[in-house]
């Protein structure tokens, strides 16, 4: 009875919009020992039972107590215990937040989602730490004399002048001249020096509508150069010329590189692949999404220059080696800072530089 009551209160106290059960309380079939005890015994007997509850008064047989020696038992064991007896195994399925058997967090080595590493200190990371970080910090230093107060800027979101009574409680307006709210650039300090965050390799294969082998070859090539399992994507736009309909045709694959994978890939790209590209001018200076992410593309013959593809070039159907777009996501808030970081790490830029 008490249990069902509490569950009803629990249901009310939960933040979600619940429809509590219309089941009457009388239909509770569960029988509890406590109910039985309270109904049969007198309150004085209950109290005496409470008084007599004592740890010392456990009446276990003495031979059982003396024979209990777990250490000797473990030493005397001939074979090892099966792994399931001493090693925690994460559940194979996540059964929701209310399930009693929860999987450990992915950072736990016993989790099924655990990815060990890093196992090496990549060269690009070392370069960044030893030279690039201090260089960027020096280049982007802005001296403010003591007592300097920066001029007060207008708020990013404009309010409404209360000329009309309908302005009350209205949402704030976006900036003048376009409703895109750009990222705020904080002054570069020792703790927000731009660095590489992730690299996305994306390959759109238009021939994949005819034959899925194009996408398989593209995925394997991207996995070989990036060491990351690729994800495939369906087209979101319709391309009539290639017969691609949105949501129907799986046409693209993408690999996201983080951490060690990313650093090794970036070093390989800059040191070995980019110098070997014929008549390559560099990355276009106007590239970037104005929030610190730079994108450039590689032709299929440039992708074939990666040492991973070169080493077993014959394994790939020569026409099916894909071109790809490489997006370098940096922690810089503006393209200018991102370009400074990338040029310090060895990526050349050409043409008109957009700030």
């Amino acid at each position: 009875m008490a249990a069902s009551e509490s569950s009803r209160y629990l249901a009310r106290s939960l933040p979600r919009a619940l429809a509590p059960s219309a089941r009457p309380q009388t239909l509770c079939w569960r029988r509890n020992v406590s109910d039985q005890a309270s109904s049969s015994r007198s309150p004085s007997a209950e109290l005496s039972e409470l008084e007599s509850t004592d740890l010392a008064s456990t009446n276990a047989p003495s031979e059982l107590v003396e024979s209990y020696d777990p250490i000797a038992r473990a030493r005397g064991r001939k074979t090892k215990l099966p792994r399931s007896r001493y090693q925690f195994r994460s559940p194979k399925y996540y059964r929701g937040p209310l399930h009693p058997h929860q999987p450990p967090p992915p950072s736990d080595p016993s989790s099924r989602l655990y990815v060990p590493g890093p196992f090496s200190l990549p060269r690009v990371e070392q370069t960044w730490q030893s030279t690039v970080a201090s260089d960027i910090l020096t280049l982007l230093y802005v001296h403010n004399p003591p007592g300097f107060k920066p001029p007060v800027k207008a708020p990013r979101l404009r309010g409404w002048d209360d000329s009309s009574p309908y302005h009350k409680n209205r949402n704030l307006r976006g900036p003048r001249g376009g409703d895109v709210l750009r990222l705020l650039r904080k002054p570069i300090d020792f703790n927000n020096i731009p660095r590489l965050e992730r690299i996305t390799i994306h390959s759109y294969v238009n021939m994949a509508t005819e034959n899925s082998s194009w996408l398989h070859a593209a995925g394997i090539a991207v996995q070989a150069i990036s060491n990351v399992r690729v994800q495939t994507y369906k087209s979101r736009t319709s391309v009539v010329k290639w017969g691609i309909a949105p949501g129907r045709d799986t046409v693209a694959c993408k690999a996201e590189l983080y951490g060690e994978n990313m650093m090794h890939f970036f070093g390989r790209l800059v040191d070995i692949v980019l110098p070997r590209i014929k008549d390559w001018q560099g990355v276009k200076g106007s590239s970037g999404d104005s929030s610190g992410n730079i994108t450039f593309g590689l032709e299929p013959e440039d992708v074939a220059l990666f040492p991973e593809i070169e080493v077993n070039y014959d394994m790939y159907p020569p026409k099916m080696i894909p071109g790809c777009h490489i997006t370098i996501h940096t922690s810089a808030r503006t393209d200018k800072d991102a370009r400074l970081l990338l040029s310090a790490l060895g990526v050349p830029f050409y043409g008109k530089i957009n700030h």
């Binding site: 249901a11 429809a19 059960s21 399925y93 990549p122 060269r123």
Partner: protein, 166 residues
């Protein structure tokens, strides 16, 4: 258990209606009843590879290529884009012994296709001298013409006077 069933039903109907309202978006199951398989992440095997750059410097990196040593012939160390000030990488020909210059002096360079692109210093000097000589000749020509103009109509006065004037 008693209150969960109506709850699930109501949420399922709610999500169904929202899904109907926005047909284009991806269906996101906010409250899934089914168990989600926790897939072990796939990590392709990686080898440690030693990369020898063209100037002999080496570094190791992790790659899916099984080759233990990779020797690169063209990289940032010998590419002009990464070394713009290097005269060695600029496409100037080496002619330390002067053999190419001697050949050109003997046979000319009419058959040389990239004469304008890559000319040695000696050729440049010769060209400069030729240009100076041509300029000097043109100046002399000019002088002669001026003489002619100034001497027009003074033929009667005689050549000796003209010499004194100038």
């Amino acid at each position: 258990m008693s209150f969960t069933t109506p709850l699930r039903r109501s949420t399922v109907t709610a999500t169904a209606t929202t899904a109907r309202l926005q047909p284009s978006t991806t269906f996101i199951c906010s409250q899934c009843r089914h168990a989600t398989l926790l897939r072990r992440p796939k990590r392709p095997y990686q080898f440690t590879q030693l990369i020898t750059m063209s100037d002999g410097s080496t570094f190791t990196h992790r790659t899916s290529s099984p080759l233990p040593i990779y020797r690169s012939t063209r990289d940032t160390r010998n590419s002009l884009m990464w070394n713009p000030s290097s005269s060695r990488l600029a496409s100037l020909e080496k002619d330390e012994a002067g053999r190419l210059a001697a050949f050109r002096a003997k046979f000319g360079r009419g058959f040389d296709t990239n004469t304008a692109a890559a000319g040695s210093e000696a050729d440049k000097k010769a060209e400069a001298e030729a240009a100076q000589a041509a300029q000097a000749e043109a100046e002399e020509e000019d002088d002669n013409l001026l003489d002619l103009i100034s001497s027009f109509g003074q033929q009667e006065a005689g050549p000796s006077d003209k010499k004194k004037k100038w």
